[in-house]
Amino acid sequence: MATQAISTSLAPQKRTSLKVYFWRVANNYVLRRVIKALATIFVVITVTFFIIRLMPSNPVDIFIQEQMALYNSSYQEARDRAAALFAIDLTAPVTQQYLDYMGNLLRGDLGKSYRSQGAGVADIIKQFLPWTLFSVGTALFISFTLGVALGMVMAYRRETPLDYVLSTFASLVSSIPNYLIAIIIIVTFGSQLRILNIAQMRGSISPGVQPGFTLKFIGDVLYHAALPIFVYVLTTIGSWMLAMKSSTVATLEEDYVTVARARGLKDSRIMTSYVGRNAALPLFTQLAISIGFVVGGSVLIETIFVYQGIGQQLLKAINQRDYPVMQGIFLIITVAVVFANLLADLLYGRLDPRIRVGSEETK
């Protein structure tokens, strides 16, 4: 209040300071990055909106085909049912549809599914996303920590039999597509050896198990998520191992590591704070980007193991051309990836003091 009183008497000066303030805000690194992120999201939403509608066929035709095949009904019957069900006008100009969609989106309305008894897209996401976040997130955590640890072992023991074994393993598993490993597991451990009861492991929880903080519930959740998690870990750990190995090998060559040895530091201290911390730095950007993709989960893995996550819903929505659901899930994935990137950028400055300078305002 006091400042206000003063500033009124110093009006011209206040204007210049406002200008300075404006430039400082405009130059603010964080703000610039946030604006860029929002712009990216807008562009991706727009592009997906139109691409989705460029896909061959449309929700009505697919519904009609399904009805005809399922109930052996005539085309006319199926059409009538479709017309009753779809309270939407797909014949409206696409630009009009786009403007409607964006308008709703700004109000926080993701729309309703064309199918699933018109369930809200937000509700579908709320119901299925947590399972994907849990399974892929757990897998990512295990894969990253284990991969980084093994990568360091490989670097420290490079050119030894252990390194050869681990390197071969890493390049092998990272070159096999995850759905192939999933199918191999089902065929060998499920059908042939009958070690795993694949049918029982389907779904996200067993019927009748009450959600709650009980051992039974947690055990059941892990039981159902075990196979997807295993496959995610197996197919992603290799690249973490190889990335960490090469980063560690490079870091071990750094002068400061030799100097740390000359300083008589303990090997454990050198390994963690001097080698490990610097070697892992470049991997954090990669990690943040992976966190973004967690949301998307893996469409194929969830479908193969019949794990009820968002990926499976996405595949279903694509097959039914359920535009609002597709659009909603793509939106969530985009937002997650973009913000994970943003977070990576900002976090990197926290982890690496050399970057911190750039994120500060120009002094």
Partner: protein
Amino acid sequence: MTKTVLEVKNLWVEYPARRGVVQAVRGVSFDLCQGETLAFIGESGSGKTTLGLALVRLLPKSARVRQGNILFYQNGRVQDVLALSQEDLRQFRWRDCAMVFQGAQNSFNPVLRVESQFYDTARAHGMTGTAHVKQRAIDLLRMVQLDPNRVFRSFPHELSGGMRQRVLIALGLLLQPQVIILDEPTTALDILTQRSIIEVLRKLKKELDFSLIFISHDLSLAAELADRVATVYAGTIVEIGGVYDIFERARHPYTQALTHSVPTVTGDLRDLTSIPGSPPDLIVLPPGCAFHPRCPFATQRCKEQEPPLEPVGEGQFAACWNWREAMNKT
């Protein structure tokens, strides 16, 4: 009589390479006395860094110490460096002998503050109590003419090259080692910074009691700091003696060529005669004296027999068959 703190006897170090074995250090022997500064000078690639690294056993894994002894004398105790266990070696490094590397620009962990790197070093050697360490660190930083308030809490990238070099020297003195090895401590720094580092070192030498091994290809710097100078050619000491003798009465043709190409201690500029020929190939050494292909005094004998270090004056030794001829020529 001054005490010997370091004794190196007939040290041989080699690097197996694809083309053959690189003979980086060939039969080097010398003593270092308490409080003394010994400079090793020679062209780049002559094995000076390898020698320094061998003294603290920090050679790359591929290197082999084929022969020799490195003995540290301290409080009547002898440490055979090449025989130390891993843990004893760790303790020995920096506490008894600190080595500041060539290109110290990257000697600090970029993600840790300067203070952490001081504390890390102290803790590794059982010095607990941050207050005590901090006080000593601040005293040392002041001695190397830095502002401790600014430097101690900085990250390495916030300091200039010259400042980092000084911080590293201060860190080297943290544990009061008996010997400090400085490998080209001023290369990659501008001339003014070089000067101030040399000033700092002279001052430190006066105030603290440590022996210094100073490795450089720059004779003028060595001349300002050293008590004794050893010239290294093709992995071996070809001449060693008091700094004045080396600069004014060099007996070995290689030392003569080196000293002729720089301003001398007394400041008079001699004409710059660069050394003709190219540095030797340490894999396939010339037979006899390694310097003979470039030596103006070379005779048949030089091509056949390698000359031993022999006394050529008071505390001065040279490895040359024809040092008398070389002496008369200049």
